[in-house]
């Protein structure tokens, strides 16, 4: 049972609480508000009630998600993979954060576990109002614990991270420790009053779900939700926030576990498909079967030279044409959102087209005018796919 109570003498049944509740847990029955079992004691209805007819229990913090207790502003996780690094997508996430909270003129801060190696110049590129350094060392558990403690201390309404691994590690970990609502891969985000609504993809990208939660909310963004970074501006003020992990939150040191980053080298293969900004995908019509192995090898080399990744559709994979090239297909959950997706000799099955629906630009290279990929493409080149691949390879400097 919820601890929140409706004060019947004050309630006039206006329904403001019904409209405000993100959990659909309030209804008006016989002219008075009534709470359902699903009430999360978040306090949003109390804030919305013009009659002051909702009594919210105090002292509930720590027993459940720390909802309904947010302060102001948005934080953007800007820590990169290694000490001193800044997440290359932090400025784009900061722009998205600003769009989410700008209606109420709230500040956007970048949070880092270390002072950036690039100094003030690096900070100026972030387009934020403030930089907060929360020293957490280089152990992921300690970083997440320090961020969680900082969230509890300063109560920003939003904590956003990029689609990168470092942001996911820190933001998801801190949300778990701080018991803050968390969603990954958010496509759209709106913050209004004490609630937040966002859209995310489910079931391999076949459906979108509109989800609500009471602030504070932590999210990692899908690349398509990134904003356009603010140009110019000076270095924002920087402050260091020393916080102690609350409630004995584990920091990694107690567990005895540790990770030591030892050596960094380029991937022997192209950029991971999920993270590639450019994807070259081949289908069964890229080349005749007897030349398919060489064609897909050229596809991989060209993609790598262009800083992207190679892929294929399910039909090419099932025909055994492609070696180790990964499949793009919504049926197996392999959906991608590159900036540019170039489909060479590929028909475009519904599950393939669904998997690339989030690409910014789709290019179809096919001589089949009836191929379904044609309708799902921004640009269509009706030339021989292998000839276009060879031209691409030449342009990329691939022998």
């Amino acid at each position: 049972m919820p601890d929140t109570r409706i004060i019947g003498e004050l309630c006039d049944g206006c329904g403001e609480c019904v409209r405000a509740c993100p959990f659909f847990a309030v209804d008006v029955v016989d002219g008075k508000a009534a709470l359902a079992e699903s009430c999360a004691d978040c306090g949003i209805c109390a804030a919305a009630c013009p009659q002051g007819a909702v009594a919210v229990p105090g002292g509930a913090a720590g027993t459940g998600p720390a909802r309904g207790a947010a302060g102001r502003g948005a934080w953007v996780w800007a820590g990169g993979d290694a000490a001193g690094e800044i997440d290359p997508d932090a400025a784009a996430v900061a722009a998205a954060a600003r769009a989410a909270v700008e209606v109420e003129g709230e500040p956007v801060a970048a949070v880092l576990p270390w002072e950036p190696a690039g100094g003030a110049a690096a900070l100026a590129t972030l387009g934020v109002d403030e930089v907060i350094v929360i020293p957490g060392g280089d152990q992921p558990a300690a970083v997440a614990a320090a961020l969680a403690a900082a969230l509890a201390a300063e109560k920003p309404r939003l904590l956003l991270g990029s689609a990168g691994a470092a942001a996911r590690r820190a933001v998801a970990g801190a949300a778990a420790l701080a018991k803050v609502a968390f969603a990954a891969g958010v496509l759209e985000l709106e913050v209004s009053g004490a609630g937040a609504e966002f859209t995310r993809l489910i079931y391999g990208g076949r459906f979108t779900a509109r989800v609500s939660a009471a602030v504070p909310v932590a999210c990692t963004l899908d690349r398509r939700a990134y904003g356009r970074p603010r140009a110019g501006g000076g270095a924002p003020p920087l402050r260091t926030l020393e916080v102690a992990a609350e409630g004995g939150a584990a920091t990694g040191a107690e567990s005895g576990g540790s990770v030591t980053r030892r050596k960094v080298g380029p991937l022997t293969q192209a950029v991971p498909l999920a993270e590639a900004r450019m994807v070259l995908a081949g289908g069964p019509h890229l080349a005749p079967a007897q030349g398919a192995a060489e064609a897909f090898a050229l596809l991989e080399r060209t993609a790598r030279a262009l800083g992207g990744a190679a892929a294929c559709d399910r039909q090419a994979a099932e025909a055994g044409l492609v070696g180790g090239v990964p499949v793009v297909d919504a049926a197996s959950g392999a959906t991608i959102a590159p900036d540019v997706y170039i489909a060479l000799g590929l028909e475009g099955s519904p599950t393939h087209n669904g998997a690339v629906a989030r690409a910014k630009v789709v290019v179809a290279v096919t001589q089949n005018d009836a191929a379904p990929i044609m309708t799902g493409a921004d640009y269509v080149i009706s030339a021989e796919p292998m000839a276009v691949l060879q031209a691409l390879a030449k342009m990329a400097g691939v022998a």
Partner: protein
Amino acid sequence: MSDGGGAPPAGGPGAGPATPAATTPAGAGPAAPAGAGPGARRLFVLLKVAPRPADVYFSASRAAVDATNAEREIGFSDRTALEVARILALEAAAGGGAGAGGAGAGGAGVGAGTAATQTVEVAALSWGPAADEKVLRAALATGATRLLHITTPLDEAAAADPLVVASGLAAALGRGEPWLVLCGDESADESRGAVGPMVAALLGWPFIGGVVRAKWAAGGADGAGGAATLEVEAEEGPNLVSYVVRPPVVLAVNRHGPAPKAASPLQLMKAFRQPVDRLEVEVAAPALKVRSLATTEVKRRLNEPIPGAAEDALAMLWAKLRERRVI
């Protein structure tokens, strides 16, 4: 097991498998693998069974998705994580340190040497409806020595909230004395990778995502001086990063790890005779509320033909891509 979202619990409890199973009530007793020796290193692999996305449709009312008739499967990355664990266990038994991971690495190259005194056990842990046990038994046929199944019911809102799922898994792991936890970087129905870092944070353990390879460092499973360490390679953006890892730690394996092993019919038959440890955990209140669902909006595309032969068309395409600031 990388996401809380996406897969609501399958409808109905279904007929449980006609095989032995033990249930551990909430909060009672450890969930440690029953056969574990006192000094065993326990590798837990988190597995998420989810409906195959292609089999999921909108219900007639369009207010919910219908996965009733969808085939349920363990995600590819989760199965890759199980393969990493299987190879680590094999290497430990052989006293070698050739490494688990990398495309095509398989179990080949297991080094010769004296078998480790430390037993390494692989336990699969999953949370979902009892009917999923039929799917999960494939894990017993492909490397897991124990199967622990959390059968506490999850409603749709709770199943879609990664914090709820991570909290339950962390609670179960806390009772199981794990030495290393592996999971997939993405699940069968979503590819968000939220649960792994959340479980790590709740346990207070380090976390590495994008893992493609793990092998025993010097000393194998016994370790040098009794502290076994692992050498782990992970994909981070455009880089392949090497780590020295001292467990306990959570590793999320991506789909570029070793190819998952397929179970033979004989292995599956044996797996169906093995017991399953059923667990119950407390379910936290979900913080997320699904308000509406929609089919993914198909972006309106330009459908602009680019004329000319290959090289000319490509030059024109590149100019257009530059204009749109996508290259």
